[in-house]
Symmetry: C2
Subunit: 282 residues, 2 copies
């Protein structure tokens, strides 16, 4: 009934891409540590990937090292597979559901409206951890970016967007954020609708979106936030396509590991404030 | 907390544009008739319009003829005005809130995250009618189309989208649908994410989105639905920008006045079935 903003009971973890998968697994370790002790099976969904046969064994090994009781490697490359009851069953029994990188349009065009996606939502609502890297992170919100060169963004229409997987409301996620200089993409989105918090995740960085809608940065990289809520003015509605967008007043944050942000209150949380917020959570 | 899918208590009415405003007012009459008997004040929000001083008096006269006790003409052309407590108060006391046409990016870039939009959502949740025509209809969902030539659509990236006003979840709305031949726009959106129902509204046609998520077509024109839920395959994720999108299996409906559709069950409702659905609603 409310696909774009479930009341999550489990945490989401959005990862900026290129997280360590073979060495000390810092980010994947945090993902796995969020799972409930009685629910240590992991489903890895490689729908976004064009090379699932290469990527799935890497994650299977990584989660195996971290203590997963079983790892289900789900390629899911067609809508038929996204409706397959066997895949649905494996997701239902998993405590961690992980979306690999690749192309977010593959994720949405194959999983949109499918029994597999519905099972992921149900598991999130009942306490599972849902994590994704790169495309798997970008696709999480109700609306996602799927294309847009950083140098063309901030020109009207420079960012291409469509409906995402609907796992979290009120924000837009961009990945590979610092490596690819994507500030302009989130600025254009913020100008088009200042309500939505822009979350730009660097490589080998991630953000836990706790069920109480508090963000927590993890990993060695940065999480950049672009908060347009107090936007004073933009010309975006007056422009022709391709013309330069003006922006008066957006707020920028860069979170490092252990720092956080309250999405709804728009409040930056240092390590102490974050600890308090998370301790208070039900 | 859940801006993209409020549990609406009041109906939404999306109008395809160019509805009659001066003669027999067929569609506006139906909008007004949905308001609660003790709540006959109307707020007309002309934020989308570049010529609010011309359009506001036309709607003020029309709703006056229909029996509005007061009509509040709200131009709201800046983010400062969208935070003005006087405008919030006028919306709070209105039983009908009407968004004029114009440019949907003006609506979202000026109203996104504002106290005025929050007041509109609160009124919808407490039983007010929220209606919009053209841009005012297109902006209603969590994600909206704001640009895209029908002849370029169905080529990857041909449709430009961003976050909408978040008044309804699970669908995308296009207006002036038959006059401007916009089938390809909703097909591209459906290929990018088959979960979302495409609702294409003709001129002088409208669709009531009842709180139980049943659609009801009104007015002399057509309401076209493009249902991609059973999409078998699309190549959209494999393409470069600008390349032609393939689609295997979308379902198309054309509703006329008195016919309906159950959004979540994906069920076409003829006049009898619609009457049953609406009679059963709480």
């Amino acid at each position: 009934m409310a696909p774009q903003s479930p009341t999550a009971a489990g945490p989401l973890v959005a990862i900026g891409g290129a997280e360590d998968r073979t060495s000390d697994l810092e980010i994947l370790k945090q993902v796995f540590s969020l799972s409930q002790p009685d629910s240590r099976e992991v489903a890895v969904i490689a729908t976004a990937s064009g090379i699932p046969e290469q990527i799935l064994p890497i994650y299977a090994t990584a989660f195996g090292r971290l203590g997963a009781s079983r790892v289900h490697a789900l390629a899911i490359q067609s809508r038929e597979q996204a409706a397959d009851a066997r895949n649905v069953t494996l997701i239902r029994q998993s405590g961690v559901i992980f979306f690999t990188g690749g192309d977010q349009l593959r994720l949405t065009s194959i999983l949109g409206g499918s029994p597999v996606l519905e099972a992921v939502r149900t598991r999130l609502a009942t306490g599972a951890v849902v994590a994704g890297t790169s495309a798997g992170a970008a696709a999480m919100p109700g609306t996602m970016i799927y294309n847009g060169c950083a140098t063309d963004a901030l020109r009207k229409g420079g960012v291409n967007m469509t409906f995402g997987l609907g796992l979290v409301a009120g924000l837009v996620i961009d990945s590979h954020f610092l490596a690819r200089g994507r500030f302009t993409r989130l600025m254009e989105v913020g100008a088009s609708n200042p309500e939505q918090l822009g979350v730009g995740i660097g490589e080998d960085a991630g953000v836990i979106i706790h069920p109480n809608r508090v963000l927590e940065a993890i990993g060695p990289g940065h999480v950049v936030l672009i908060d347009s809520r107090e936007l004073a003015h933009t010309n975006i509605a007056e422009l022709s396509m391709g013309e330069a967008v003006s922006i008066e007043h957006m707020i920028l944050h860069a979170l490092v590991s252990g720092h956080g942000f309250d999405i709804d209150a728009r409040r930056y949380l240092d390590a102490d404030a974050l600890a308090t917020c998370l301790a208070e959570a039900p």
